[in-house]
């Protein structure tokens, strides 16, 4: 489904991604973790072409992200993305946030889009908030709207970039619950997160990144039992001992 082949990226002189390779098969959930600045966000943004990369290739369902002839907008419309800071559109109501791209990109009629939106709001437990504006919702509610917004496009895969790290602890669970449900329903997911509880529950594999490299890429059970590298070991014990994340 998502196949990342030896991609490298530079910001000027700075080598952010160093020959990263991995694949996410259909229905698989892959968790990406690693210290701050290790390139997790950059990697995941490369997957849907929000960031350009200089070397390597990324294929989504066989379509090359970086290739010249690729219709990037069309490709992106098939890959959902959820951001750390929600990024709901503040001038649109919740339901409009869910319908705008359906109407403008998928050319669905307003009626169909609204019905679809309402159904998804129901799924994330926010059916009663359709006519509110994003700023009238709590962080956890906003993030669930953002997930519903991405799902409204019927994506073939979902990307998450630290979806819970801007949330107060009591709101983290409501968002993770939605994500767990999504994973259990067979959604293909690539999730940057430090929520190791989530990884334990639904991940198939865990990727550990450090300084722009994929240092480990292993089945969840192996990763948690005994990380190969000292760096991953240290990282793991650090975030597990902090407690909040698990």
């Amino acid at each position: 489904m998502i196949s990342i082949k030896a991609i490298s990226k530079w910001y000027g002189e700075f080598h952010v991604l160093k020959e990263c390779s991995t694949t996410v098969s259909k229905g698989e959930v892959v968790v990406v973790c690693g210290p701050s600045g290790s390139g997790k966000s950059t990697l995941i943004k490369c997957v849907n072409g929000l960031e350009a990369f200089q070397q390597g290739e990324i294929l989504i369902d066989g379509v090359s992200v970086g290739a010249r002839g690729t219709n990037l907008s069309k490709l992106r419309s098939r890959v959902g993305m959820v951001f750390q800071h929600f990024e709901l559109f503040p001038h649109l109501t919740v339901i409009q946030n869910l319908t705008i791209a359906q109407c403008k990109v998928l050319r669905r009629g307003n009626r169909e889009a609204t019905e679809k939106g309402q159904r998804l709001l129901d799924v994330v437990g926010l059916a009663a908030h359709a006519e509110k504006f994003p700023a009238q919702l709590s962080g956890g509610q906003q993030q669930r709207v953002a997930i519903a917004r991405a799902l409204a496009m019927d994506p073939i895969a979902m990307l998450f970039d630290e979806p819970t790290s801007a949330l107060d602890p009591e709101m983290i669970k409501e968002v993770l619950d939605v994500m767990v449900k999504l994973a259990q329903e067979g959604m293909t997911m690539m999730v940057v997160t430090h929520e190791m509880g989530f990884a334990r529950e639904v991940a198939n594999r865990v990727i550990f990144m450090d300084q722009g490299q994929i240092v480990e890429d292993r089945p969840k059970a192996d990763f948690f039992k005994s990380p190969d590298t000292d760096r991953a070991q240290q990282f793991l014990s650090k975030i597990l001992s902090h407690g909040v994340q698990t």
Partner: protein, 249 residues
């Protein structure tokens, strides 16, 4: 102060103007009308060009933002009076076809008006562009990314996502740019356009009632400004988003 004002001869406004256009009151109101017409037309031009240039400055890549920057620096830094003389005296001479048409087909009043509109419009556009740019940049890269990630193309992201919010944010600075355009419109008196400040000047010259003239004209400018402020606050109120940027939940 009261006795000074009372001691002035306010009847002057009901006497016939030297040019036979009616009373001096009417004479000043004609100036007011030109000032408003000039400012509003120039503002529309400034808003359109300023939005385009401001948007270009936030585009990806180097070329288009660079062109936008050149525009802003050029029009913001050459003195307004110099720009007006360029539009009015120089450009009609050096642009072959259009310049000749300008000089022959338009009457002097229209020549003054068109030059004034172009001058104020292009000058203010540079300032509007800076506001539009800062409005868009204040939204951060996240909103753009969210729009693109949904499959919207770049023009759609600007039209549907970035600009509607950016314009709301910059209503206060845009208001002060509009007030500036009204003040700056007085520069058109130098090429003879009968706008408010020139009418006041002439009234003073022909009747020697300088005090009455300038008190009246100050009041008129004041009324315009207050009206603009009221309209601006109204626009701000009706476009305010619940819970966002100080809007009530």
């Amino acid at each position: 102060m009261v006795s000074f004002v009372a001691g002035l001869d306010w009847n002057i406004f009901f006497q016939p103007a030297f040019d036979g256009s009616g009373t001096y009151l009417r004479f000043l109101l004609i100036g007011l009308a030109w000032t408003i017409l000039l400012s509003v037309t120039a503002w529309i031009l400034a808003f359109v060009i300023g939005s385009i240039v401001g948007v270009l400055r936030t585009f990806p890549g180097r070329l288009l933002p660079g062109l936008g920057a050149v525009y802003v620096e050029l029009f913001r830094n050459v003195p307004l009076l110099v720009q007006l003389f360029l539009w009015y005296f120089v450009l009609p001479e050096i642009i072959p076809g259009l310049g000749t048409w300008f000089k022959q087909a338009l009457n002097p009043l229209l020549q003054q008006f068109v030059s004034g509109v172009l001058c104020l419009g292009f000058f203010t556009a540079a300032r509007v562009a800076e506001q539009v740019r800062s409005g868009i940049n204040s939204l951060g890269r996240g909103q753009r990314g969210a729009g693109l990630a949904l499959g919207l193309n770049l023009p759609q992201v600007y039209q549907l996502i970035l600009l509607p919010v950016a314009y709301r944010i910059i209503i206060p600075p845009l208001t002060s740019e509009f007030l500036n355009i009204i003040k700056n419109s007085a520069v058109a008196s130098t090429i003879g356009l009968a706008e408010l400040s020139r009418q006041a000047q002439q009234l003073g010259e022909f009747t020697a009632h300088w005090y009455e003239s300038f008190i009246a004209v100050t009041l008129l400018y004041g009324i315009i400004n207050v009206t603009v402020m009221i309209v601006s606050q109204f626009v701000e109120r009706v476009t305010r988003l619940p819970g966002y940027l100080g809007g009530r939940k």
